[in-house]
C-alpha cells in the first residue's frame, strides 16, 4: 500500500512538473510572438536604450547571466523565475513586483497556475504607503546651494481620500548621495556625475520642513491624473530600485529627469524624458508634464518666511517691528511692551514673534538655550489670548511656476551705437534675468547660464558678450532681519578701450569677473526693489596695459514691475580703475513690454563716461523664450 502511494505521489509530482515545463515553454513562445523584449515598457523597466543594454549596474537586478546586455534573455529568465518556488520575500514577485505584474498581464498568465508566494516585507511597505494618486512637488529655486539653484522636484504618493493628511503622505526623492564633507569639490563632482543618485522615501512633512522652513522655498504641488493602477505600478517599481543607483548629474541626469522616467514608465505612450537630453531644469520638466495634460490640480504651499512676510504686510511694519523686539525680550519687559496694544494686536505680535524667532533659530542666528524656552513662552502667552488665529494665508502669486517664461531664449536687438547702426543676435541657455517677465519666478533672483550675443556693425561681426555664469540674490531688508544682497558674474565682454585707455570709438574683448555685495529694499510684494552694493571688477585681456586690471566702486539699481506687462531695470555703476586712475560712470537701463510669458519687446539704453569721453548705445529688441 505504502509503495503504491509513494509511486502515485512521485508520478503526480513528475506530472505536475512536466505541465509547468509545458506552461513555461508556452509562455516563452507567446513572449517571442509578441516580441515582448522590444516592448517599450520592458525597455523602460530595464533602463535600456536603443542598444538594448541596461544602464543598471547592480547585478541583482537581472536573472539572466547576460541580462544586462541582453534584454531578451533577461525576459526569458524572468518568465521562468515566475514559476520557481521560493522562500518568503525571495520570489521574483516579491523582489520585482512591477516587472512581474507586467509580465503576468502581457502573457495573460493565470495567477492560479503560479505558486503561492508570500512577500511580507513588500506587503508591509506598500500597505504603509497605500498609493492611490501621485503629486509632483516643485520646490522653488534656492541660491544657497549650487545644486538647488534651478529648483527641485519630488513625488508625493497619497492614499485615497486623505487630502487633510497630505503631510503624512510619503514622498519619493531622487537625489545625489553625498558622503563626507565635500566643499569645493562638491559642485565639480555634482556636474561630472561622481555622486550616486538614489531614491529615498520619507514622510512629506520632513520635506516641507526642509524646504519650507529651513530654506525658505515655496512649494507648489501638482496633482497628477495618473490612475490608482498606474500609481501603484509606479510605487511597485520604486521598490525594485532599492539597490540601484545611477550617476547623478546636477544639470542633466538629475531629480527631475528621473521622475519623468517614472511617469514615462507608467504611461508607455509618453516620452517625456527624451525631451531633456542634455539638461533637465526642474521647472521645464514640469511644463512638459503640464503640456501632456497630466496635471489635475495645483496647490500652493508658501514657505514659513513667505508666511511671516505676508503677516508683516497684513498687520503693518510697525507691529512687525514690535514683534521682532518681543521675540528677543524677557517675559516681564515683553509684557510691558504688549500692554500698550489691544488684544488683537497682541495676538498678531506674538504670532509674528514666534515665526521670527523660529526662523532665526533654525538659521542658527540664535542659541538653542535661549530660543527653545523663549519659543514656548511666546506661544504660551499667545494661547492665553482668546482671539482666533490672526495669520492669514499669503496671497497665491498670480502666476504659478509652469506659467512663467521658458528658460532658454533667442533675441534680436537693433539700434545705434556711437552713431553707427548695429544689429545683435543673442541666445541664452538658462534661466532667469531681472528684466525677464517676472510671473512664475521668485522675485529678486537672477541666474544666467551661457548668455551671449553677436553684433554686426560697420561691416564687422563680433562677439559682443558671453556670460558663463551670473548669479544674483537680492534679499530685501525686512522688519525682522537685514540679509545681504550678493552676486557675481563671470564672462567675456567688449570694453570701450584702446591701448589701455578709455576710448569713444574702439572696443576690445576682455575676460571679466564682477562681484557685488550690499543691501536691498523692496515693498512686501517685491514689485519695486532697489539695491546699493559695492562692486569689484577684475578684467584680463591683451588690450589692457598690464594684461589685467582691477576696478572697485559703488553700484545702485532698481527693478520695477509697473504693470503685469511692463517692467524695467535701471543700474548705475561707478568703478574706479586702478590702471587709468579714473572713475568710470556706467548707466544701463532696460524697459520691457511683455506680449505674453514667452515674448517681449525691449528698449535698452547704455551710457558710459570716462576721461571726458562718452560711449552710448540705444536699441530696440525682441525676445522669444522657448
Amino acid at each position: 500500500m505504502k509503495l503504491i502511494t509513494c509511486t502515485i505521489a512521485t508520478l503526480m509530482c513528475h506530472f505536475a512538473h512536466a505541465s509547468v515545463e509545458t506552461d513555461i515553454q508556452n509562455y516563452l513562445k507567446i513572449a517571442e510572438q509578441k516580441q515582448l523584449h522590444q516592448d517599450v515598457t520592458w525597455q523602460r523597466l530595464m533602463y535600456a536604450d536603443q542598444s538594448q543594454k541596461s544602464e543598471v549596474a547592480y547585478d541583482g537586478y537581472f536573472y539572466a547571466k547576460d541580462g544586462k546586455n541582453n534584454l531578451k534573455n533577461e525576459l526569458q529568465a524572468d518568465i521562468k523565475a515566475l514559476f520557481i518556488n521560493s522562500a518568503d520575500n525571495q520570489s521574483i514577485r516579491c523582489k520585482f513586483p512591477a516587472r512581474s505584474r507586467w509580465l503576468i498581464q502581457q502573457l495573460n498568465i493565470d495567477t492560479e497556475k503560479l505558486l503561492i508566494v508570500k512577500c511580507p516585507e513588500f506587503d508591509q511597505w506598500i500597505n504603509q504607503i497605500k498609493p492611490y494618486k501621485a503629486t509632483l512637488i516643485y520646490a522653488t529655486d534656492f541660491m544657497g546651494n549650487p545644486s538647488s539653484m534651478f529648483g527641485h522636484t519630488l513625488l508625493r504618493l497619497d492614499p485615497k481620500d486623505q487630502k487633510q493628511l497630505n503631510l503624512v503622505s510619503y514622498a519619493v526623492n531622487y537625489a545625489a548621495t553625498v558622503s563626507g564633507e565635500d566643499n569645493w569639490s562638491y559642485a565639480w563632482k555634482g556636474l561630472t556625475g561622481q555622486y550616486p543618485g538614489e531614491y529615498s522615501l520619507m514622510p512629506y512633512y520632513r520635506k516641507v520642513k526642509e524646504y519650507g522652513d529651513f530654506e525658505s522655498r515655496d512649494l507648489w504641488e501638482y496633482e497628477l491624473n495618473l490612475t490608482p493602477e498606474e500609481t501603484r505600478f509606479l510605487v511597485e517599481h520604486i521598490w525594485e530600485m532599492q539597490h540601484v543607483s545611477f550617476p547623478y548629474y546636477f544639470v542633466s541626469d538629475n531629480c527631475a529627469y528621473r521622475l519623468l522616467g517614472l511617469i514615462d514608465l507608467v504611461r508607455p505612450n509618453l516620452d517625456l524624458k527624451k525631451q531633456f537630453n542634455y539638461a533637465a531644469i526642474p521647472i521645464e520638466t514640469l511644463k512638459a508634464v503640464d503640456q501632456q495634460h497630466l496635471v489635475k490640480e495645483v496647490v500652493y504651499r508658501p514657505a514659513l518666511e513667505t508666511q511671516l512676510l505676508s503677516q508683516a504686510k497684513q498687520h503693518g511694519t510697525p507691529l512687525a517691528k514690535v514683534a521682532h523686539q518681543i521675540a528677543f525680550q524677557d517675559v516681564e519687559k515683553a509684557q510691558l511692551l504688549l500692554e500698550k496694544f489691544n488684544r488683537h494686536d497682541q495676538a498678531k505680535i506674538l504670532e509674528m514673534a514666534y515665526d521670527d524667532l523660529y526662523l532665526q533659530y533654525i538659521s542658527r542666528q540664535v542659541d538653542a538655550d535661549f530660543a527653545q524656552p523663549q519659543l514656548r513662552q511666546l506661544l504660551a502667552e499667545r494661547s492665553q489670548i482668546d482671539v482666533e488665529k490672526q495669520r492669514q494665508e499669503p496671497e497665491r502669486p498670480k502666476k504659478q511656476p509652469v506659467e512663467g517664461h521658458h528658460a532658454r531664449n533667442l533675441s534680436v536687438n537693433v539700434g545705434e551705437l556711437q552713431g553707427q547702426k548695429f544689429i545683435e543676435l543673442g541666445h541664452r541657455q538658462a534661466y532667469h534675468d531681472l528684466i525677464d517677465p517676472q510671473g512664475g519666478y521668485r522675485l529678486g533672483t537672477q541666474l544666467l547660464f551661457l548668455d551671449g550675443n553677436i553684433q554686426y556693425r560697420d561691416d564687422q561681426l563680433k562677439l559682443e558678450h558671453l556670460d558663463l555664469l551670473t548669479v544674483n540674490s537680492y534679499n530685501p531688508i525686512q522688519p525682522f532681519k537685514s540679509p545681504i544682497t550678493w552676486g557675481f558674474n563671470l564672462g567675456w565682454k567688449q570694453e570701450a578701450l584702446d591701448q589701455g585707455n578709455f576710448s569713444d570709438d574702439q572696443q576690445h574683448g576682455v575676460m571679466n569677473l564682477n562681484m557685488q555685495v550690499g543691501y536691498s529694499l523692496a515693498d512686501y510684494d517685491r514689485r519695486h526693489l532697489c539695491y546699493a552694493q559695492m562692486q569689484s571688477h577684475i578684467q584680463g585681456g591683451r588690450s589692457l596695459d598690464k594684461g589685467w586690471r582691477v576696478g572697485v566702486g559703488p553700484t545702485v539699481g532698481c527693478m520695477n514691475i509697473w504693470t503685469d506687462t511692463i517692467n524695467s531695470v535701471v543700474q548705475i555703476e561707478l568703478p574706479y580703475w586702478e590702471d587709468q586712475s579714473q572713475w568710470n560712470l556706467r548707466v544701463g537701463s532696460q524697459f520691457q513690454y511683455s506680449l505674453n510669458s514667452n515674448n517681449a519687446l525691449r528698449l535698452n539704453w547704455n551710457f558710459e563716461q570716462q576721461d571726458h569721453k562718452d560711449w552710448s548705445k540705444v536699441g530696440l529688441g525682441y525676445v522669444w523664450f522657448f
Partner: protein
C-alpha cells in the same frame, strides 16, 4: 485559551529581548540613542533614523514593534516629535494643518475636532510646559488634559 495567550506574550517578550536594539532599523538614530532603554528611546531612535540616512526601507512608522496604549500610536509619537514647532504653533492658536493631522492620527471624530482644538489651545501652557523635555512627556500632558474633558476623555 489562557495558556495560548500567555505563550504568545512570552514569545513576543522573548523576541524583543533577542532583537535588542536592532528593531528600530538602521542608521544614525540607533547610534545616537544607544544605551537608553525602554519605549521612549526606541521610538525616538526610530524617528531620528532617516534624517541622516538615505533609506528606502526606513519608513516603518506605525510598525515599530513597540506600542503605547490608546490613540497614541507610534505614528502619533513620530509626527509630534518631528513636527513639534509647527504643531505647537497651531495649538497656541487652536487651528492649523499640523494640529488637524494630529487630530486625525488620534482618530478624533470630525464632530469633536473643534473641541480638541479649543482644549489644546486653552491648556497649551500645560501641554508644552517647560517641564516637558521630550515628545512623550508632551503627549502625556496632552492625554491628561484630554482625560479631564467630558468628551475628549473617550480618546485617551
Amino acid at each position: 485559551m489562557l495558556k495560548k495567550i500567555a505563550l504568545a506574550a512570552l514569545l513576543a517578550a522573548g523576541s524583543s529581548v533577542a532583537m535588542a536594539d536592532n528593531d528600530v532599523g538602521c542608521g544614525a538614530g540607533t547610534q545616537i540613542w544607544a544605551g537608553q532603554k525602554g519605549i521612549a528611546p526606541k521610538i525616538l531612535a526610530a524617528t531620528t533614523n532617516g534624517i541622516f540616512t538615505n533609506q528606502l526601507l526606513g519608513i516603518t512608522f506605525g510598525t515599530l514593534g513597540c506600542r503605547q496604549g490608546g490613540t497614541v500610536t507610534a505614528q502619533v509619537v513620530t509626527f509630534t516629535n518631528e513636527n513639534a514647532e509647527s504643531l505647537a504653533r497651531d495649538m497656541a492658536v487652536g487651528q492649523g494643518e499640523s494640529l488637524n493631522v494630529l487630530a486625525e492620527l488620534m482618530q478624533i471624530k470630525a464632530t469633536d475636532k473643534a473641541r480638541f482644538f479649543a482644549v489644546s489651545k486653552e491648556n497649551f501652557a500645560e501641554i508644552y510646559s517647560s517641564k516637558n523635555k521630550n515628545t512623550l512627556q508632551v503627549l502625556d500632558s496632552l492625554q491628561s488634559v484630554m482625560a479631564k474633558d467630558a468628551v475628549l476623555k473617550a480618546y485617551v
